[in-house]
Symmetry: D2
Subunit: 361 residues, 4 copies
């Protein structure tokens, strides 16, 4: 029963609402003896942090993480290391302007979880979406930073490959470029065009969707498990658990429908003493188990539902009304989903590393 | 730790290999007092059963299910009802021609799990793919039939919406047509064209992929849970756990990237005393919780990797070799994935029904 | 995988070390709409709080609980109610005199977890036992207070029934007396004698064990589940998870060995329209399921291992040494285990209430 | 949610009723490459099998186990080895005389689960107790035999240490004697006396309780986990999940209440380069983690509730009636609980071995 817990052996339990005093998570099952300081986590939180360009929400959150448990001074280095006990990561909420949300207390914003939370629970923290706010993803990013230290041999990187209808050109792919533009875009030319496009969207008070690609290099063959412990099953769950995500695909993904078996099944030859694949339509996973190739995942983030345009909706009392959302929002929430997607992938991989080691040694 | 178990409150644990004596599952957590006879399950197994047209594998498996536990005569009707204890469903394997597979004992078939299983476990039942065979999905269909009886108010139906590069035309959608052609295709015109197309694929010894759409009607608003208990998270996991699936999407899915917030967020008006949505880009799920609209899921099945064409691969001993797979296979394994996708969706929904009832009452 | 999580549908995840900045827990799965303010929790924390008599440790911890998430103002009352999302309970550590523990950094205290933690993890927070400290039980008591509000119809009460070799006389049992003496003892005469006995133990710098009995009234017939979901199985796990507990029994418990079947099996007659039992050797549980009788559990707490007497032990470096523990400790840690035992029982019951409602409705 | 599943990484899911066609279990998470043939399991089932002396039920069940999945021929030896996939163990029910139970269809047998199952589910398989029958424990013994092969370095043995009011004399303890008498009694003199005592009980149609002690040698320091992953927590749950068990204790157990801290805390000295304990009041577990000493567990089995004497009870329709149980029963069901207790202990240990290896490596 995992309402707010993700993972099996390496697991996080998150808590907190957008406008409560704090959000955070408890990371459980972490191996002991791993050097872990707040700075190891902060660097990833800073990537996700809002307000860093005009293309993300102007909410100002320092997102300073505190480690409240689970680390202790190492005998040898004297620096903090994990002890194998739960790691509690706390992030205070600072810039909660609750009054912004007073108007929408009784109106269900279209495309948001307002109506469904109310239908399920009969009560909800409406301020900034409460628990359904993307603010919860800061806790994921923090936990993901810990997961990275569990599997340092694995490199997980993400990039935005489509914004609105505009795709990157894969021949231009340059990982270094991802750090240079405000979109995590690996294609410098595309990034330049996106800037104008997204300014247009932002000025209209509209929003657009995006597609994110996350890859993992350095995963050995053998992680994952058959049937209901599939690596791609857990990746699909991980990505779909992110706010506003409506689809996930691995390797060739939906395009595989139109391929022939000859095109799709990656041929193998020996190279440097191990199997080497001629292509990677499988996205690094066969039968739910990693093949040693790069793991390649894409997911789609729907356009931000908070928009200025007047939209039809209803109130909790059952009246037809109109709504226009004026708060501080991301015109394309998919941008900040890049570090979140990275975090979710590395969380799945760290979990499967421990699960594999447990069963197979 | 769910290597071979799916679900939380309503859960199945499957077992069995393609060419072992039997496959099956244990269904746990089923509410008591539900009428359940083998015939209730057999009807769905028959939909999935191979050898029913020239477009599926010619392996002949009667797939007769036996209920070994968990039902007992009802006080009133005298007929079998569930008792709340584990329901064991056993399906004997009959037509296992193991010799077909002797040649591939040492060769890793491209696109199959042969290599990854071997890399993980160091041993594998290579006959027909063993545990990685799509034969395991018969157990899912059987468990899904039980799940249907837990939530009779919900109607789950699936259809093939694309085969190879050929999509249906949605204006022709007719659920009744799904039962009339060998493709579970809702578009009679498309089905006619697909027949010629798939004959071509089959005669070449090639294969093609497919996209399946599964919908659920009658799900009330409120099932699912926030964050890591999201209904769509569990649906994504469910579908991705099916053999050969490489992508899952909900509602507008990947197309949502190119939509504006205005286009994507479904507007609401009151109708007959409850919220009524003007469109269903959300696919019936908002914030991980059902909205009362139809739940709409699509997943892609890659082309069958077992093909006649000669392909490059390696042996377990590390030699470069060629391989051509001659066994009895489906030219489009996606066809038989339709009843499997239905089963997985209804399993997720039955589980969430019980979880919701547990927490909220 | 529940290293630091307890429960299934109603579950808590605890974190924190004795001398870290804070301890606490995340309560997940709580039904929505339940009034919950810090004061509802504080009253139980105050019962467990150290330093309230000379018979417990003189560590001064205010144990003020903060609710950081999961509650919001109710539409009608305006007061805080649960929202169905994770409830984060934080308790700051205040009086951590870490220097007390410097001497024992390298010595494994006999009877403590020092050696086993070191053997497992290779590193440990030695200050006050770190994660193995009974301080963690404050988080259980806080979560238990939430659980009580989930099942207000159930009354859970505990008492000390033996301290060292001295048992109560059950004919003197008076629940009101439990609140009047510093031992949670239901027998006023026994309490008077215990005072002198425990003063002797305390002045010697020694310690003694205790037996606690916890009962639950108002549990209807039908909670629990067969086989591995047994109510008594989960109660046994709950009690054995408390620090220093070495045994658990239900109803007649170990005394049942010497009973005949005639004596032990509780006879039944109808009364007021429902089955009424002539005795309660079963302790309210038959076949893992509640019978409607009071649930009666006892558990034993070993004598505090921190004692003044010089004891033989070894160091982490493998040297034979002597040790005497001088910190502030409870001469009988069993006393403060009473509210902890109550908390664990009500946590199990709240979980089974939700699980039962989920499966059976 | 573990209604019928036990364990985390090494886990079994059992199914089946006393008088259904079969019982069995699915063992999941087993490491690959372990030699496993039916004979490895049969030897333990034979120890538990009824009808082997006049002191156990005369029901004749061959209890022949079939392995339906999860093993395959080893590359080198050609013999069957585990493949890492689910191991399905099936045991047919043979000697079900259902007519014996017709009379008790409507009467709730005192001390049995009849009433509570009916209260919970509204329907039950009353034949021989259905799912609540001790017959389910055959599946545990079968799974336990697999667990033994996962940790061959660990030796788990059990013995009866008390029957009715008659205890063994521990100075006479001889493990070899356990195999020589029908009671699994380690004290030859006690066994001789027990024979006469139990004949008396049997001839009266009465029954008596028993206490079983199970030990594990060869467990290294470090298995288990803090707080809610405690080794003793899981052992307590394991033993309490066995039918008719009413109490569990570790090491000194309930006797620890009357010990002083000096007596109870086991002193340590270095020996052969590792810590050596002067005593074992801890029962091999400190802070939930194994210390390297023998693990010592005791549990109590209540007297069989099926007795000839006339007892007061009620019917499902709410009438006061008398009942006398005439079926074939064990006068002391505790005897056959010895191999069951062994199985449960080794299942917990195998699970914790894998969990430890997963987290710590």
């Amino acid at each position: 029963m995992s309402f707010n817990t993700f993972g099996h052996m390496f697991r996080m339990t998150t808590f907190g609402e957008s406008h409560g005093p704090a959000i955070g998570c408890v990371v459980d099952g972490c191996p002991p003896g791993i050097a872990l300081a707040p700075a190891d986590i902060q660097v990833f939180l800073d990537k996700r942090r809002p307000g860093q360009s005009r293309f993300t929400t102007q909410r100002q959150e320092p997102d300073q993480v505190k480690i409240l448990s689970g680390v202790f001074e190492d005998d040898k280095t004297g620096g903090p290391v994990t002890t194998g006990t739960p790691i509690m990561l706390l992030i205070d909420n600072v810039d909660q302007r609750s009054k912004d949300y007073a108007e929408i207390r009784d109106k269900f914003r279209p495309g948001h979880a307002d109506y469904t939370y109310q239908a399920k629970y009969g009560v909800r923290d409406y301020r900034g979406g409460g628990r359904s706010s993307a603010r919860e993803t800061a806790a994921r990013v923090a936990a993901g930073a810990v997961a990275r230290k569990v599997i340092p041999q694995v490199r997980v990187r993400g990039a935005l490959v489509q914004i609105g209808p505009h795709k990157i050109d894969r021949v231009n792919w340059d990982w270094a470029e991802v750090e240079r533009n405000p979109f995590f875009c690996p294609d410098a030319k595309a990034a330049a065009k996106w800037e104008a496009y997204l300014d247009g969207v932002r000025k209209k008070g509209s929003s657009c969707g995006a597609i994110i690609e996350v890859t993992a290099s350095g995963v050995p063959a053998g992680w994952g498990a058959p049937v209901y412990g599939k690596l791609d099953q857990d990746i699909a769950a991980a990505m779909m658990s992110i706010n506003a995500v409506k689809g996930v695909e691995i390797g060739a993904g939906f395009a595989a429908a139109a391929l022939s078996g000859e095109e799709n099944a990656d041929e193998i030859r020996m190279r440097h003493g191990k199997p080497d694949f001629a292509s990677n339509h499988a996205g690094g996973i066969l039968g739910g188990i990693s093949s040693g190739q790069d793991i390649v995942v894409r997911f789609v983030v729907k356009p931000t539902s908070s928009i200025l345009s007047i939209r039809k909706t209803v109130t909790a009392a059952g009246e037809d009304v109109d709504i226009s959302t004026k708060g501080r929002h991301d015109p394309c929430v998919g941008i900040r989903a890049v570090p979140v997607g990275e975090a979710m992938l590395v969380l799945v991989l760290a979990d499967h590393f421990l699960r594999h080691r447990g069963q197979v040694g």
